[in-house]
Symmetry: C3
Subunit: 131 residues, 3 copies
């Protein structure tokens, strides 16, 4: 098992940051030829997802839609005021897997890996485990 921890500086309350290149570098550094990369977010108001990386409007539409889906709500009890971020984290999910074949991430042609910030800006981490 190989492991890398990516440090991620987010710059807005809600943001999708592409980390495909960093994950690819961690896989190359591991020397693994065939296996699985597990991406893990050790936070409760962030997530990881894989989606289109050709048109930034896709990320814009997704974040705007999530903001409308889970607005701040006066009925939320959690006193920190970021229940919407916790909910988005569980909806999008904090772990994802990508197969590795011949040393390369088996991403589809239009896929990129995104760290999703839902209560930033903050300094975050993404665990990359290659096995």
């Amino acid at each position: 098992m190989h492991r890398a921890t990516l440090a991620i500086r987010t710059s807005a309350r809600e943001e999708m940051l592409e980390v495909t290149r960093d994950v690819r570098q961690a896989v190359a550094a591991s020397g693994l030829r065939d296996g699985i990369v597990t991406l893990y977010v050790p936070h409760t108001t962030a997530a990881v997802t894989i989606n289109e990386n050709a048109d930034p409007d896709v990320q814009h539409d997704m974040l705007a839609w999530l903001r409308r889906l889970v607005p701040p709500d006066p009925s939320f009890r959690h006193a920190e005021g970021n229940s919407d971020g916790h909910i988005k984290s569980s909806l999008v999910g904090i772990s994802a897997q990508v197969p590795v074949v011949d040393g390369e991430l088996l991403l589809g042609r239009w896929q990129g890996i995104y760290f999703c910030e839902f209560d930033g800006p903050r300094l975050r981490q993404l665990e990359v485990v290659i096995h």
Copy 2:
């Protein structure tokens, strides 16, 4: 690590296609007795999920509900007009795992594996990695 790529022909814009039998065959062909099957969708407007396979009305209700949750929206910027499909892909997710015990998928009694199409019809792929 064993790997199979399933070719999937979808026939509607939105569809849930059961692939349990194909995944089971890939596991049998691998000869693996104990491990994990990772299912991976290399597309950005499709997903994979595991849910009830006894009553097709469950799939009907899920697709109809998702259509109401993420309707086409004039405020979406992505010019291809399929932002709803990208959003559903990240909500449902593009990877899933099932344990393998004694050569069998550890599915619950009512569980089936579904490829979810959100911008079809198209020819799609599902990666099945057994490790």
Copy 3:
């Protein structure tokens, strides 16, 4: 590969039950030092997620929000009346992964593992596979 099956008794129709301690015990019993824990729910109206365990209001807010997002709907066809539970199961997801490093779950400071009941009360299972 090591495997443990947790028996979980839920006590309400919708509930988030923390199982972090049980998963931690299963990892300790396995003797594994470095690897991945895969959590798998063999049910179609339940899920597993990882989220904040410091303030129970987070779970309250999440369950209340999900109830408003997926209310019982007369247009649902599935005759058992629990289509909302099936939908929540696929939204939150039935599998999750946590890395194990030096024999410890690599959970973030505020993270706990939750079994999510969406059609209880019932006797449920959670599969814990350590590899």
